[in-house]
């Protein structure tokens, strides 16, 4: 019922080029200085972080900026609501769409990592559902921001105050365990850290330790985001 936006998968390239340039630039550049991190080459280490970060960005941009444009600018949501659909359907559709688009980003980066020999064990296939889970969590949270937003500026706060610091402390560029304990505790409460904790061992070629804990945190963010987004969307559209 909600597969209607398939026609718009044109902007995928820009979602992929940036993270890949960063992966190879930082990976090979910095990697030359750092022989190995946690037993893997730096670029392989960084590939896991970059996969999750790029998935996070695609999910967030789609659910916040594109979602807000459809909701607020183009009034597409209003048009949908004249049909026999309700706001809950629209919210679910937007989250699902953003998560799918984010998954495409994540899985392409994974494919590139495999092609360049950064991962070779069959375990890496499990990173595909993991990427979707990361996309789902950030799409749901992004859509909460979308339905709360009064204007475009609102998203800068979330991006600058939440996403950027989260990227720095979630073990994307360096092992999060090097952080002071309070910062590590903050990272562990946030979804990106758990995404990285799942994907990195899979790229290294083994099962992730405490997998179900990480999955549970990501699912919790997705579920909480979904419920909050629906709650706020109902409020927004009932006035």
């Amino acid at each position: 019922m909600l597969v209607w936006r398939k026609l718009m998968a044109a902007a995928v390239l820009s979602n992929l080029a940036d993270p890949l340039i960063m992966l190879f630039g930082l990976g090979y550049g910095l990697g030359a200085l750092l022989p190995s991190v946690e037993g893997m080459s730096y670029i392989a280490f960084f590939a896991a972080g970059q996969l999750c970060t790029a998935t996070m960005f695609t999910a967030s941009f789609e659910s916040m900026f594109s979602g807000f444009s459809r909701m607020h600018g183009q009034k597409t949501w209003d048009a949908i609501l004249y049909a026999p659909l309700v706001i809950d359907d629209v919210v679910a559709g937007e989250i699902g769409w953003a998560a799918s688009k984010a998954w495409l980003t994540g899985s392409t980066i994974l494919g590139v990592a495999v092609v360049f020999g950064l991962a070779s064990s069959p375990w890496v296939l499990l990173a595909l559902p993991a990427a979707f889970l990361v996309g789902l969590a950030f799409s749901a949270v992004g859509l909460v921001m979308c339905v709360l937003a009064r204007g475009w500026d609102f998203f800068s706060y979330y991006m600058t105050l939440v996403m950027t610091p989260m990227m720095m402390i979630s073990g994307v560029f360096f092992p999060a365990e090097q952080l002071p304990a309070p910062l590590l505790a903050v990272a562990k409460a946030l979804p990106l850290y758990h995404g990285v904790q799942i994907v990195r061992p899979l790229i290294a070629g083994g099962p992730p330790p405490s997998l179900w804990l990480h999955v549970a945190v990501l699912l919790a963010y997705a579920a909480a985001g979904y419920v909050l987004a629906i709650t706020f969307a109902r409020r927004r559209f009932s006035s």
Binding site: K75, Y82, S239
Partner: protein
């Protein structure tokens, strides 16, 4: 049975009551107009009838379905033309119709069968591949109307269908709307454009401050609420002339620098006009009724 009925409908936002007890009954196949100044509660009433917002009190029945409880079922058989076009600018004309039909769960093949007829109706035959941004305002409005028909609705809601259109575009829309009623569809439209209401609507309700203050056919409303003839006078010396006119016409009022005389027989009024004064003699219209009932103060 009514196509649409409401009983004692109420809706407040915070302390402000926007809809204060509305009773409506729209017969099947009828074109019904909801008139009122800005902020009268017209759009809120439409949204309540569609089940998009919940009423605080009262009952709504749309095509036999209780709303909001079975609003989805009702909306499956209803079309909506909103006040502001919300076509999807990322899609072409045809894709807009297809995607919209999919929201109703209509199979793609059925939609494709309907598209030539819809484009024909919208005067957009051969423009199926055009981008929305290349369409004129009138074309977009017609496409929005065609989009509202994609599910072959029995009833179509229209919120100010011709606002912002030039006369040519407006007349084309009116013609299309009349053809819809001839097909037996029910139309419910809001407007503050009296000529539109007078030409299109079988029956009207005039709304102000959340209430219906008059209801009936356009002719009956004019006959009931206003004298049949109007003379408008303005120009140098209108104020002194007005004192004289008060003896000659049953009702005389001044708005800014114009004097309005209402009455059945205004021959004496016309004879008394002289000098610098210019005048316009015309039959009373729905606009006179509207202004009499809702007042001449600006509404923002």
């Amino acid at each position: 049975m009514s196509a649409l009925s409401t009983r004692a409908l109420r809706k407040s936002y915070d302390a402000l009551e926007v809809v204060s007890g509305i009773d409506l009954a729209v017969a099947p196949g009828e074109c019904f107009g909801l008139l009122g100044p800005n902020g009268a509660g017209k759009t809120t009433t439409l949204k309540l009838c569609l089940g998009l917002i919940e009423p605080d009190a009262g009952e709504i029945e749309l095509l036999g379905e209780p709303v909001p409880r079975r609003a989805r079922e009702a909306r499956a058989r209803v079309g909506v033309v909103p006040q502001f076009d919300n076509l999807d600018p990322d899609f072409t004309v045809e894709e807009n119709l297809v995607v919209y039909g999919r929201y109703f769960g209509i199979p793609q093949s059925r939609i494709m069968e309907r598209i030539p007829g819809l484009l024909e109706f919208a005067g957009l035959a051969g423009r199926g591949d055009s981008r929305i941004t290349t369409l004129s305002g009138g074309m977009k409005r017609r496409l929005t109307l065609a989009r509202a028909l994609v599910n072959e609705p029995q009833l179509v809601f229209m919120d100010e269908p011709t606002t912002g259109l030039d006369p040519q575009a407006r007349h084309l829309i009116w013609e299309r709307l009349r053809s819809l009623t001839q097909e037996g569809r029910t139309l419910v439209l809001t407007t503050h454009f009296m000529e539109e209401a007078e030409r299109l609507c079988h029956r009207l309700a005039i709304m102000d401050r959340g209430r219906i203050i008059a209801q009936g056919t356009p002719r009956a409303l004019i006959a009931e609420h206003i004298e049949p003839q109007v003379v408008e006078v303005h120009g140098e010396g209108y104020a002194t002339w007005m004192e004289r006119a008060k003896q000659l016409a049953p009702r005389v009022e001044r708005v800014g620098d114009t004097v309005y005389c209402y009455g059945e027989e205004l021959g004496p009024v016309l004879k008394s006009i002289s000098g610098e004064l210019s005048y316009l003699h015309r039959p009373a219209s729905l606009e006179d009724v509207f202004l009499k009932l809702t007042g001449r103060d600006l509404r923002d």
